[in-house]
């Protein structure tokens, strides 16, 4: 479907015969989205990134970008695609300015844009210092600047806020969202931080042990997993059950003194607990069974 700017169809990859790093992965990234690629460490995010950028060759030709096979478009596709894979690749002996100049030369970008870019990532004042003197955050920003330099249609970023302080994280987030809105750039971001993805992305794909567990919009995500299932151990379960208003759904009786129900949000637990106590419940235990974070953590098992 042409609205998907990146698509993989049953992508497989393994480093060794026994373990598959990427297992039947079918991604669909809509054009103009900020797509968060989420998964715990070792899930296969970086591997997928490297497959998407051709760093790891995909012999099965399962990747389509801009509606066409990736393999056929290498390397010219990089005129329309910018990426930052793994730790930032920067020439430490060159200045920040010269690193950008290097990219500008390759991508045939006018040198005036370099200064512009430096200002956008807040490195203009440090542009003539050698990169080996930059802090981690500065390096990260420079790498992002290098990826953005030619105003690509797609940005692939592998853990872009890795190592940044809270301010830095916010700045990058703002930057990415701005270019997405102003330029319509599709941004594919991988991260293991759920909070980041939640704040920035329009779409999300969740990967674990090489397999895709979920793909959809943020709304769909919160609908499926935003709700919170709790189990309550209490003495007088039958009595209280009758008293709980109908608005709370999916009430189940687990056992003699155990009921479970689903709240639309974890945040509602304190209020609900108060209500139960008002009803006269004698509560032994309230346990959260499923939430996005729990579900997410279970993936690491």
């Amino acid at each position: 479907m042409s609205e998907y700017i990146i698509q993989t169809k049953g992508l497989d990859f393994n480093f060794s015969k026994s373990k598959k790093a990427v297992d039947n992965l079918s991604l669909n990234v809509p054009k103009g989205s900020i797509y968060g690629f989420l998964g715990p460490n070792g899930a296969g995010k970086s591997t997928t990134m490297r497959l998407l950028t051709g760093i790891i060759p995909d012999d099965s030709d399962a990747i389509e970008i801009f509606g066409e096979s990736l393999q056929k478009q290498l390397p010219e596709i990089f005129n329309r695609l910018g990426c930052l894979v793994e730790s930032p690749a920067l020439y430490l002996h060159l200045s920040g300015y010269n690193n950008l100049k290097y990219i500008a030369k390759i991508r045939k970008v006018d040198t005036s844009r370099i200064d512009e870019m430096l200002k956008i990532v807040n490195l203009y004042d440090d542009r003539n210092r050698k990169v080996k003197q930059y802090s981690l955050g500065m390096k990260q920003r420079l790498a992002i600047a290098m990826a953005l330099l030619s105003s690509p249609e797609i940005l692939l970023l592998d853990e872009p806020v890795n190592g940044l302080d809270p301010n830095g994280i916010i700045e990058i987030r703002k930057l990415l969202m701005r270019i997405n809105q102003e330029l319509g750039t599709t941004i594919f971001v991988s991260s293991h931080l759920l909070s980041e993805i939640e704040k920035m992305c329009t779409h999300v794909g969740i990967i674990s042990k090489g397999k895709l567990r979920f793909e959809g919009t943020m709304r769909e995500l919160s609908q499926n997993f935003g709700q919170c299932k709790i189990t309550i151990s209490l003495k007088n379960s039958k009595e209280i059950l009758e008293k709980i208003p109908a608005e709370y759904n999916a009430i189940e009786i687990e056992a003699e003194s155990k009921i479970s129900l689903i709240l639309s949000d974890k945040e509602m637990i304190p209020d609900f607990t108060k209500k139960l106590i008002d009803f006269g419940a004698e509560i032994y235990e309230i346990k959260i069974q499923e939430g996005l974070e729990e579900w997410f953590m279970s993936l690491t098992q």
Partner: protein, 746 residues
């Protein structure tokens, strides 16, 4: 074409990337290092190194030859190793490969652009080397005085060609080192590999083991042949090998880079097929070049050449070394010659003698159906023989290093008598060395990879064998005295060596070693109590092979006639053995020698001759009848004569007040002026005479003057006391003269 566009972009971006790494500055400094050191050394050692210069040469060409060796064998390859590592490390260290692969650049452009950075660095080093060399040498030539004969024009054409040749020679090493540096991420590993391979090559060089496909050896070859091909090719064959090797490894290296891992490159069928295909093609090309060229026979026997000279030379002669027979007379027009030789010429070394104001000659190898071209310079009476080309190109450059090509342990053992007690060991050593040398003897190659023809190699093998048999024979002589038991049966190994040599091989007759060997073998059996010469002649006369027998007889007869003490002996020799020579030409030559020696015998009259003195007056030998005459035959260009003349003069001065004896120096110089200038400065106690060309001919024939200096003692009646005296530097010379003078007084 998009590949090319990509490439220039990639290359330009590479230049940004290497800013601040000092890569090209390093190339530049390595280039100027050797010339600076050479300049300083030459400056301070100028006076010490001054040698008399007779042959013109180009100042820059000569000095570059000396400086090039250290650049090519050490500094330049070291630079290449370092630069290849530096260039690739920029990306290895910074994750640059991945960065480049996520840019709109084809992998081939990335690969090629980095390679180009390396090659441009090479060019910078070469140009800075040659350029700084020329500048510094120019400076040197202005500071110091350079002999006039030396050409100080800057040879731009030569330097341009040399630049391209050195660059071509460096290609193979550069790509190999580049691929190693790309494929191995470590900084130190490629440097170690390169450095130790370079050291290994230098060490093997010391043992004279060369592998011409070794990239380091290829660089060394260009340095040892700065003037390049002897056959006017632009490149040496080693440089061509470098180019082919470069293309081959560039392609294979790229496939490896493209596929990242060794496994993917060499196990996946598609890749393996490509790699093997390229490797096979490359190897085919290289083995074609490595295969030695051997000339085929021509359809005629041709001797041609050009002479660069300030004189007009009109004749030359091809002369057999053995009989001194003139095989061909060569007409020279406008100092060029091209003669077809009609007679059969066996493979030998011959003299080619040129008649100029002073005669000069050289030796060349030739045989029937060879075409030989000589390139000669003859300026200021100094001959300079450049490369002789033609079908015997390799033969005429072949120079075995001494009799045994260097140190021979066997020879050492023979001379050291302590080994007499261990004859087994000596025999084994002789055998092993012989085997080794035989296998090596056809390994010689010219700079253009030409090898000698098969007949020449065969001949060399035989001569090597003979040399070893000769030292065995001298050892055998010693063993006869100390340990005769062991000689009852010829040792097996010695037998084997002997079996490869015939005792009647006429192609080897001019070889002194072979002659000695044959003589030894034949006279070994003769235990009668006669002298060696008689034993020899006796043995020769028993030979069956006529040709061989004739030559041997002739040569032995010639020397024994000369050394015979009186007429009776001579008569006996010529009667017994002269008759046995069946070849009429040789026979008559032998008889001529007999006659000449007879004429020169003691008591026979010395032939009269006329010469000119310092005042230009005619002087005859007969003018001095009634006095003893002692003659020193010499020429201004004769080195040994210069050694003898002071001794001669001393004796003359001693006897200057003796009216019964006159000392004279007779010069055979072609140029009278040369003689005059030197003769004028000599002592007046020696009468200085000069023979005109015509008289010189007759004189030489009559007195059998084959070499100078030559000393002749004639008595008062004009008869010979001794037609060939020992040299005056020997004390006995004076004794002979005094004895003769004293006996007269009695």
């Amino acid at each position: 074409m998009s590949i090319l566009k990509n490439y220039t972009t990639a290359l330009r971006s590479e230049f940004i990337k290497k800013k601040g790494t000092g890569t090209y500055w390093l190339c530049f400094s390595f280039g100027i290092l050797v010339p600076i050191v050479y300049f300083i050394a030459s400056f301070f050692l100028w006076e010490d190194n001054k040698k008399p210069v007779n042959i013109p040469f180009n100042f820059y060409e000569k000095h570059i030859t000396e400086a090039l060796a250290s650049f090519q064998s050490f500094f330049f390859p070291l630079l290449i190793i370092i630069i290849a590592a530096k260039i690739t490390q920029i990306d290895h260290k910074n994750g640059g490969w991945q960065l480049m692969e996520t840019q709109p650049l084809s992998k081939f452009s990335i690969y090629l652009s980095k390679l180009s950075v390396l090659l441009i660095g090479n060019l910078i080093a070469i140009v800075s080397f040659l350029g700084s060399f020329v500048v510094l040498m120019l400076f040197l030539s202005l500071l110091k005085d350079v002999p006039e004969i030396v050409n100080t024009n800057i040879p731009f054409g030569f330097l341009a060609q040399l630049t391209i040749r050195i660059f071509a020679a460096s290609l193979f090493l550069s790509i190999v080192q580049f691929v190693i540096s790309v494929v191995f991420r470590s900084f130190i590993l490629p440097i170690l590999i390169g450095f130790f391979t370079m050291l290994g090559t230098l060490i093997l060089d010391g043992f004279q083991i060369y592998k011409v496909w070794n990239p380091f050896t290829i660089l060394n070859r260009t340095a040892s042949n700065p003037t390049g091909s002897q056959l006017d090719y632009f490149f040496l064959y080693t440089e061509k090998i470098s180019i082919i090797g470069f293309v081959m490894v560039t392609l294979i290296g790229f496939i490896w880079y493209q596929n990242k891992t060794f496994k993917r490159t060499f196990t996946k069928p598609k890749n393996l097929a490509k790699v093997l295909g390229i490797a096979v093609l490359g190897m085919l090309g290289m083995s074609y070049l490595l295969n030695p060229n051997i000339y085929e026979k021509h359809n005629r026997t041709v001797l041609s050449g050009t002479i660069e000279s300030d004189e007009n030379i009109s004749k030359a002669y091809l002369i057999d070394k053995f009989i001194n027979d003139t095989l061909a007379e060569i007409d020279i027009q406008d100092n060029k010659f091209h003669t077809v030789i009609k007679n059969e010429i066996p493979l030998e070394q011959y003299y080619v003698v040129f008649k100029a104001s002073n005669q000069f000659y050289t030796e060349i190898y030739m045989s029937t159906n060879d075409s030989t071209n000589m390139n000669i310079q003859y300026l200021n009476n100094v001959p300079n023989f450049k490369t002789t080309t033609g079908t015997r190109l390799a033969e005429n450059q072949y120079q075995p290093g001494g009799m045994f090509g260097g140190f021979s342990f066997a020879e050492f053992m023979i001379n050291d008598n302590s080994y007499l007690e261990r004859p087994e060991k000596v025999i084994n050593t002789i055998y092993e060395e012989w085997e080794e040398k035989i296998n090596e003897s056809d390994k010689f190659r010219t700079p253009d990879n030409y090898a000698p023809q098969a007949d020449f190699s065969e001949r060399n093998k035989k001569i090597t064998t003979i040399n070893y048999l000769n030292i065995w024979n001298s050892f055998e002589e010693k063993l006869k005295v100390v340990n005769p038991e062991i000689l009852k049966n010829t040792p097996e190994k010695i037998k084997e060596i002997k079996s490869s040599i015939s005792l009647e091989d006429s192609s080897l007759i001019t070889n002194e070693s072979y002659f000695n060997y044959v003589m030894y073998e034949y006279t070994k059996q003769d235990t009668t109590d006669t002298d060696q010469i008689t034993k020899r002649l006796h043995a020769i006369s028993k030979l069956e092979n006529k040709d061989f027998k004739d030559r041997l007889l002739f040569s032995s007869l010639k020397s024994s006639l000369k050394s015979a003490s009186d007429s009776d002996e001579r008569q006996k020799l010529i009667n017994t053995y002269g008759e046995q020579i069946s070849n009429p030409k040789l026979k008559s030559l032998a008889y001529n020698h007999f006659t000449t020696q007879e004429k020169l015998a003691k008591g026979n009259p010395a032939q009269d001759f006329v010469a000119q003195n310092l005042d230009g007056e005619d002087v005859r030998l007969s003018d001095f009848k009634g006095k003893y005459v002692v003659i020193d035959v010499w020429a201004t260009w004769c080195g040994p004569c210069k050694v003898e003349s002071p001794h001669f003069e001393r004796i003359a001065i001693k006897n200057k007040n003796n009216p019964d004896i006159v000392f004279m120096a007779v010069s055979i110089d072609k140029k009278k002026d040369d003689w005059y200038l030197q003769a004028k400065t000599k002592s007046e106690s020696v009468v200085q005479l000069h023979l005109s060309s015509k008289e010189e001919d007759t004189f030489s024939k009559a007195y059998d003057v084959e070499s100078i200096p030559r000393f002749i003692f004639i008595d008062k009646e004009g008869n010979f006391v001794n037609s060939s005296m020992i040299r005056p530097s020997q004390n006995y010379f004076e004794t002979i003269v005094n004895e003769e003078l004293n006996s007269e007084q009695k």
